[in-house]
């Protein structure tokens, strides 16, 4: 199958979805959502359950009518267009294979709806089944397939019609861990090969970071940050994003002064200076510092530039060792790599080196 000639973008503008709830009254499943997907891009909607990611996806698909706002696919306003006229491919969390049709007929369904001649139809279905590694499965019924195989059929069925837009709703959440990792690689390479504009919904941040060109983080019906995996990891715009993308330490601090791109603050009972930290807040402001576990160093005893700490727990995981270290009554989560990463025993008094750069400083009352 060839790649798509002219991929199109997707634009959600000012989109609200509200429900009337018997007890709670008006409830917003999505509120003022603005999302732009570039042509050919794989964009992920990421967030905890109930954050509005699936609702937004269903609005793009046309399964859910927005209460306000518009949806564009390419230049076309599809807000009032039914799902069957949007030229989309949708892969469902539960695969939603037609239980009464065999693999061939499941995949051929969209082509039959488009009244393709039998010869073209058989060739296309054959091609796509080879592509997803299911050649020879044509006569099997869905309930005879394993979860991974069902997933491939669902994928084949969605892409065989060469949709302009591909939509995934947590497609891997029903698979076991290993299969999940290999399937997400397949989805990513297939998407790149076909170049179909894709929106992918997941609550798994690792999955999102692994496959996405860009990630939209959502919370409580709103978009909270958009960026590449690296941008979100290095520069989370809020405590929520910092906590949701990767594991992190959030340390309360008070600003003491700023000069020449250097920021001095009181943190874990000591004065600490950061390079290149951006903040508009003045002296005396309470802030939260985002320190990633792998940026914190551990030394055998207190040395210049370190603060004293005590090892509380140690978990050896092979290529890395995870520690919980107590510093000034605060628990720090630290990851150490390398040959001697496991050298600190629980109870040991050690020196803790806080990072001096690459630290995101967030205002304290933010969430």
């Amino acid at each position: 199958m060839d790649s798509v000639a002219n991929p199109v973008g997707i634009r959600l503008t000012g989109m609200d979805v509200k429900f009337h709830h018997r007890v709670k009254g008006e409830v917003y499943a999505a509120r003022d959502v603005n999302i732009t997907v570039a042509p050919g891009e794989l964009l992920t909607l990421l967030g905890p359950s109930g954050c509005g990611k699936t609702t937004s996806l269903r609005v793009i698909a046309g399964f859910q009518k927005p209460s306000a706002g518009t949806v564009h696919i390419g230049d076309r306003d599809v807000t009032n267009v039914l799902a069957n006229d949007r030229d989309i491919g949708f892969v469902f969390q539960n695969y939603a294979l037609f239980p009464h049709l065999n693999v061939f007929e499941n995949v051929a369904y969209g082509l039959r709806v488009r009244s393709q001649p039998q010869a073209v139809l058989e060739a296309s279905v054959g091609d796509i089944l080879r592509m997803v590694g299911l050649a020879g499965y044509e006569r099997q019924m869905p309930h005879q397939l394993s979860g991974g195989e069902q997933q491939r059929v669902a994928l084949a069925r969605a892409i065989v019609v060469k949709p302009r837009v591909l939509l995934f709703d947590e497609p891997l959440s029903n698979l076991d861990a290993k299969l999940r990792v290999s399937m997400r690689g397949e989805i990513q390479s297939l998407q790149k090969r076909l170049g179909i504009t894709t929106v992918y919904v997941t609550h798994d941040q690792e999955e999102a970071m692994a496959i996405s060109d860009r990630i939209v983080v959502m919370n409580q019906g709103r978009v909270v940050q958009v960026g590449t995996a690296g941008e979100l990891y290095r520069s989370p715009a809020s405590i929520f994003v910092a906590g949701f993308i990767g594991r992190t330490n959030l340390l309360p601090a008070v600003i003491r002064g700023a000069a020449g791109g250097r920021l001095t603050l009181d943190i874990v009972g000591t004065a600490h200076t950061l390079d290149g930290a951006q903040t508009d807040l003045g002296s005396g402001s309470k802030v939260q510092c985002v320190m990633r576990p792998e940026t914190i160093g551990l030394t055998p005893e207190s040395a210049p530039g370190t603060v004293p700490g005590i090892v509380r727990s140690r978990t050896y995981l092979g290529e890395k060792t995870e520690y919980t270290v107590e510093v000034s009554r605060q628990q720090l989560f630290v990851v150490q790599f390398g040959a001697d990463a496991e050298r600190f025993a629980p109870g040991a008094a050690i020196g803790v080196a806080l990072p001096v750069s690459g630290v995101q400083v967030l205002s304290g009352d933010q969430s």
Binding site: G62, F90, H100
Partner: protein, 571 residues
């Protein structure tokens, strides 16, 4: 669903309908049909009963209630319904408990299954006729065995016994899933805590069955309240009930208004029972709270003597029913039961010569109504379960109305509504077919809804996302998946088209007659032989067709993976 989408920007009718044109059209068509064949006849009935010269008046109702005969009939109907409810539920529970707990042999379960199925698929007079053969003046038991002269079979007791036997299978079918859902683990648990078996039954099993028992009581109460055939044969003059009174008012005195008012009196308790059943029974299910279904032991809840007592009682009941049907069969092949027991096929000759027109008419009506009723059930079930439109609940209620109401009311309402222009259908086959479709499709509706609740909505969305219009989706995805419900619904429409009489007795004409009406005529002419032969014929046809449909359903279940279906006969 607790949530409803708010849709700005559209007003009036358009705002109440889905955006999809095919779906919107289907909703409008169904509403038009419901308006014509459910709402309009009921409105016409009420108008005829209470509006005279353009003014509303309760005077007719008071007049009817002022007559002692009618008050007695009302009280009799209620007493009979309550007694049938209690006795039928008891019998149903006895048999359901025996089958689910007493470790019966396969052969005995089979006997019980046949014995409980027979009354459900028989024409309404069957038990009554068999009762006359068994306990009548020349009855096998009363006359031949006990040597009683001029035994009186007519009255409350025989009506009660015949109705209880006819309707207890409904209780059995309702209670058996309840009992198996409770499972023996809970009982074993209580037993292991040191309770005696009787205490376990009293404090665990029985309380958990209360919603099921109440439900079955209401079902039987309604069935008895609506039953017209059994009292007509067995109640006699000493025990008048409302449905027969209304019938005699119309056929005997040609008093349509009186019949309408009488049937309104019947309508009040029927609606109350229907609402009670919806409100507090359909809601309460204790059973699902016991968590994960584990392996069930055979159960130790029964002492050996209790087990044998239960088995004996259930088997005796089953044998008694088989005995009644054997009697019916025997009576159909002897010259005159009780007087001349020489074998003859003469009654069947009558059936296939004299009765040929009724047979042909009935079969034509049944075979036309069957697919239409099945389709209507699936369509309404689909809209009720899947549609998002204003008035969905109202549509569900309207589609159930003719089913919930006693047949006598529906029949009289149709007679009043379609006798004169603008819609004159009296004397046609159409009026009978319509009556059956709108009265007996709710089984199909409920089965469809139950099936759709097991089929994730995403399967239909997948079809839409692949470019199929909603009509295509319905035809190629939904319809094949709800096929079992279609056939179950169609089966019930067929069974009832062959066996029902309470509504259609008012709708038959010279042009279109029914087998059940012929049976009634034979009964009133006291030609019991042909009546028995007709009944046997109907039972054979219904059994053949339902086993065929059952076979089809079995195969469908096998090919679709397991999708549980409730028994077709339950409708």
């Amino acid at each position: 669903m607790a949530e409803a989408e708010t849709r700005p920007g559209r007003v009036g009718l358009a705002a109440m309908l889905p955006r999809d044109p095919a779906l919107a059209a289907a909703i409008l068509v169904i509403w038009a049909l419901l308006a014509l064949f459910v709402i309009y006849p009921l409105a016409a009935l009420l108008m005829r009963a209470f509006v005279a010269d353009g003014t509303f008046s309760l005077e007719p109702l008071l007049q009817v209630l002022a007559q002692r005969q009618h008050r007695v009939a009302l009280v009799n109907s209620l007493i009979l319904g309550a007694l049938v409810g209690v006795i039928g539920t008891t019998l149903g529970f006895l048999v359901a408990f025996t089958v689910s707990r007493a470790e019966l042999g396969k052969g005995w379960v089979r006997l019980i299954d046949i014995a409980t199925l027979l009354p459900l698929i028989s024409p309404p007079f069957t038990t009554s006729i068999a009762f006359v053969f068994s306990f009548g003046p020349r009855g096998l038991i009363t006359h031949d065995l006990l040597g009683l002269k001029a035994a009186n079979v007519y009255g409350l007791y025989s009506t009660l016994a015949a109705e209880s036997l006819t309707y207890f299978p409904i209780a059995y079918l309702a209670l058996r899933p309840v009992l198996s859902a409770i499972g023996t683990n809970l009982e074993d648990m209580a037993f292991s805590l040191g309770s005696s078996r009787w205490r376990v039954f009293r404090t665990v099993t029985l309380p958990l069955c209360v919603p099921g028992l109440a439900n079955s009581f209401l079902l039987l109460f309604a069935a008895s309240l609506a039953d017209f055939a059994t009292p007509l044969v067995l109640a006699g003059n000493a025990f008048p009930v409302l449905p027969t009174e209304a019938y005699l008012q119309i056929t005997g005195m040609f008093d349509l208004k009186g019949g309408a008012v009488l049937s309104f009196v019947l309508l009040v308790p029927a609606v109350l029972v229907f609402l009670a059943q919806r409100q507090w029974v359909a809601r309460g299910h204790y059973v699902t709270i016991s968590g994960k279904a584990g392996p069930q032991s055979a159960g130790q809840g029964l002492s050996p003597s209790a087990r044998w007592l239960l088995i004996a009682a259930s088997v005796l009941l089953g044998l008694f029913i088989v005995y009644l049907y054997a009697l019916l069969l025997y009576a159909s092949v002897v010259v005159a039961f009780g007087a001349n027991h020489a074998l003859t096929l003469g009654h069947y000759k009558v059936v296939f010569t004299d009765g040929l027109k009724a047979i042909k008419d009935t079969l034509i009506i049944a075979f036309i109504g069957m697919p239409l009723g099945g389709l209507f059930g699936v369509l309404v079930g689909y809209l009720v379960a899947r549609g998002e439109f204003a008035g969905r609940r109202a549509m569900e209620m309207a589609s159930m109305a003719n089913y919930a109401l006693p047949g006598t009311i529906v029949g009289i309402a149709y007679l009043i509504a379609f006798n004169d222009p603008p819609i004159e259908l009296a004397g046609t086959a159409l009026i009978i077919i319509a009556c059956y479709i709108f009265r007996y499709s709710p089984t199909g509706i409920r089965t469809t809804v139950a099936l759709l609740q097991q089929i994730d909505k995403s399967i239909e969305e997948a079809s839409l996302s692949l470019g199929a219009r909603s009509f295509t989706t319905f035809r190629r995805i939904t319809l094949p998946l709800v096929m079992p419900a279609f056939f179950a619904g169609l089966g019930v429409v067929f069974i009832r088209s062959m066996t029902a009489i309470s509504a259609t007795i008012f709708l038959v004409s010279i042009g279109w007659s029914l087998i059940t009406v012929r049976i009634l005529e034979n009964m009133t002419e006291l030609s019991l032989g042909p009546a028995a032969a007709f009944s046997v014929f109907v039972i054979v046809i219904v059994m053949a067709v339902t086993s065929l449909i059952g076979l089809l359903l079995e195969r469908m279940k096998a090919s679709l993976g397991d999708t549980s279906l409730s028994g077709m006969a339950a409708g």
